[in-house]
């Protein structure tokens, strides 16, 4: 029973025979073409047109998000400038396949150098190239194999949306890719189609075609030759999780009553209802920038007040993060000073707001007005991307001037975590932003999907930093919450409670399982899990150590 671990991106359990989709298209040789160049050009253009038509017909059959992706790919295949490049290439003596390959390469470079949003499109472009080149070289177009009627688990290097759209969820019970990341098109579409999926699963392609496997899209594990007991366990776990989710209720606390409020991450008033439905005790992260991504000019104070008020009236405590723009979330009315070679390390968060102090002051004024007449401690405001005590002081002073009583900061920059004791004197609370803190402490760009495996919150270095910040907050008598995705992992949530974190904020659907995990363990067990995890040397060992200190996980299907 060999096991492989990746990132589970679409939950559910799939058991069946493996169908491996290999099909890497060879690079066409660069040797000179000696035949009829006019006919060769026609052949190249016809292949592009064929691919465009094929993608269009798949788009029509797919609908929804998949349709949009495939239709855009068809447009790429039919791009007149690309056709021009190909024609020039063949006239210069290249074969049709080579000319196509080189022309796509030209655009690949152009797009790869643009923003993260378009860079994600490079995978789509590569897929169009491979389909065209395969056609021209009479090579089998890489694609989903014809599987017989039985249930199968698809294993592949990466899965293009065009291929994913062909999968029949009745027969393809799960898919596993060696590459890819949780934010790619493939992961998003898999969830939409309800197919269990694991991405970034190293070694998965070593599993031979026809092998019998179990793929668990919740835990991200692929098990080769699972015995019936293992399958039974996975299915039982799935069922137990569903039951735990259904039965957990009440405020977040450990079995022995240690209180850890469970809060929701929201982007605006539309997220209030799901948060209430999942029993959120408040909002731990209101991403205020999400209200304004559509705006070309700074939103008026009246617009802001209405949105803040709606959320403030719905919950007894609300932490609002002031506009966190920059890097992957540019706001046109908050431009950085210059084009940045590395936006994640550039002007973003509080750094950007200090360049636009009127926007910050306006937002703080709107927040204070929105909270008028409500209990004084209901509104808490925090700043993103704070590096040191001086910046924290500037922000706290701005909040006080606006009449806001609770001012805090996010701990995302490693320097802020290391010197948390300095900062604790300047603010009323901390919130650990685990995603960015991990990005910066591991030096791993969140946008680079091939590095997803390094972006692991269980790495002891991150646990140490979080423990350090939580301790500094406790010693200063201040709160220290967590509002990153790590809080949504029920096992990690227990560890965080044990590290001294005072509240956990996550996307609403994750709340019930975290509530169940906390309620099943004592505070001492959480502390022991935290200690055991920090004593480990690797992320995997840390997680395993924490799990073995939390005895009730098994019964919860975790």
């Amino acid at each position: 029973m060999r096991e492989f671990t990746g990132t589970g991106v679409s939950p559910g359990v799939g058991v069946g025979r493996v169908r491996v989709m290999t099909g890497t298209v060879p690079v066409p040789p660069a040797e000179p073409f000696t035949g009829d160049r006019v006919a060769e050009t026609a052949r190249a253009l016809a292949a592009l047109e064929d691919v465009a038509r094929e993608l269009e017909s798949r788009a029509a059959a797919a609908g929804g998000e998949t349709h949009d992706v495939l239709a855009a790919q068809a447009l790429m295949a039919r791009d007149p400038d690309l056709a021009g490049e190909v024609t020039v290439g063949v006239s210069a003596g290249l074969s049709a396949a080579r000319a196509v390959y080189e022309s796509f390469g030209f655009y690949r470079e152009l797009l790869g150098g643009s923003g993260a949003y378009i860079s994600a499109r490079v995978a789509d472009l590569d897929d169009v190239r491979d389909r065209t080149v395969a056609r021209l070289m009479a090579f089998a177009v890489p694609g989903v194999p014809d599987a017989d009627d039985e249930h199968y688990v698809l294993i592949t290097q990466d899965l293009a949306p065009a291929d994913l759209a062909l999968l029949d969820p009745e027969r393809c019970v799960a898919f596993v890719t060696e590459e890819g990341g949780p934010i790619g098109h493939t992961a998003i579409l898999a969830r939409a189609m309800g197919i269990p999926a694991i991405v970034a699963c190293a070694g998965a392609l070593e599993v031979p075609d026809g092998a019998y496997v179990l793929a668990d899209g919740a835990s991200g594990t692929l098990v080769l030759d699972p015995d019936p007991a293992r399958i039974e366990r996975a299915r039982a776990a799935e069922k137990a999780r569903a039951e735990a989710v259904g039965s957990a209720a009440g405020p977040g606390r450990t079995k022995d009553g240690w209180s850890v409020p469970l809060l929701a991450n929201v982007g605006g008033p539309k997220d209030i209802q799901p948060a209430l439905d999942n029993g959120a005790e408040g909002v731990g992260l209101f991403r205020s920038e999400y209200l304004f991504l559509d705006e070309a000019v700074p939103p008026s104070e009246e617009q802001q007040i209405a949105a803040y008020r709606a959320v403030l009236e719905a919950f007894p405590r609300v932490v609002v993060r002031v506009l966190d723009a920059g890097a992957d979330k540019p706001l046109s009315f908050l431009p950085p000073a210059a084009v940045e070679p590395n936006p994640a390390l550039g002007e973003r968060g509080l750094r950007l707001l200090r360049r636009h102090p009127d926007v910050l002051r306006g937002q703080l004024r709107a927040l204070a007005k929105a909270a008028e007449g409500l209990p004084a401690d209901r509104l808490r405001v925090m700043a993103p991307m704070v590096t040191d005590a001086e910046e924290a002081r500037v922000f706290t002073r701005a909040c006080r001037e606006a009449g806001i009583q609770q001012a805090g900061i996010m701990i995302e920059v490693p320097a802020a975590a290391v010197r948390a004791h300095d900062i604790a004197e300047e603010v009323d609370f901390f919130s650990l932003g685990t995603n960015d803190l991990a990005q910066y402490v591991f030096a791993v760009d969140r946008q680079v999907s091939s590095l997803t495996r390094l972006q692991n919150p269980w790495r002891p270095a991150l646990l140490d930093l979080m423990a350090h910040a939580a301790k500094a907050a406790t010693e200063a008598g201040k709160g220290c919450g967590v509002c990153g995705e790590a809080a949504a992992d029920p096992v990690m949530a227990c560890v965080l409670a044990g590290l001294g974190v005072t509240s956990l904020s996550m996307s609403s659907p994750s709340l019930p399982l975290v509530r169940a995990a906390l309620a099943a363990h004592t505070y001492a067990e959480c502390q022991e899990a935290a200690r055991a995890a920090r004593a480990a040397r690797t992320a995997g060992a840390a997680r395993a150590a924490a799990r073995s200190a939390l005895p009730a996980l098994e019964t919860l299907g975790l």
């Binding site: 949009d68 239709a71 855009a72 447009l75 790429m76 791009d79 007149p80 400038d81 690309l82 655009y107 152009l110 797009l111 643009s114 923003g115 949003y117 378009i118 499109r121 472009l125 605006g268 008033p269 539309k270 209200l291 304004f292 991504l293 559509d294 705006e295 070309a296 000019v297 939103p299 617009q303 949105a307 540019p330 706001l331 046109s332 009315f333």
Partner: protein
Amino acid sequence: MAERHVRVESHVGLHSRPAAEFVKAAAQAPMEVTIGRFAEVPVNAKSILGVLALDARTGEQLRLCAEGDGAEEVLDSLCAIFTEANASNASSELAGAGVAEQDLAEPNA
């Protein structure tokens, strides 16, 4: 030469669906149509790859140009597509009544 100025209002910029819809509409035009920033070399408006590589962000102003019979009408219809594509993306209840298309004063050229 006919010319129009448009502003990118969609929160995803001129990418994704807005870009695809714009290029599809431009491809119908009988003449060459270009799109680009002021003071930069424009790209072929019928090329999705060119338009994506422009990487036009929210709030940016772009210039559309076409020449020949019917150029004015072609650009008018493109501006309309541009506005519709953007409008369908402005999903937030807070999206204000931003000006999606501006016919700025005659360029000084």
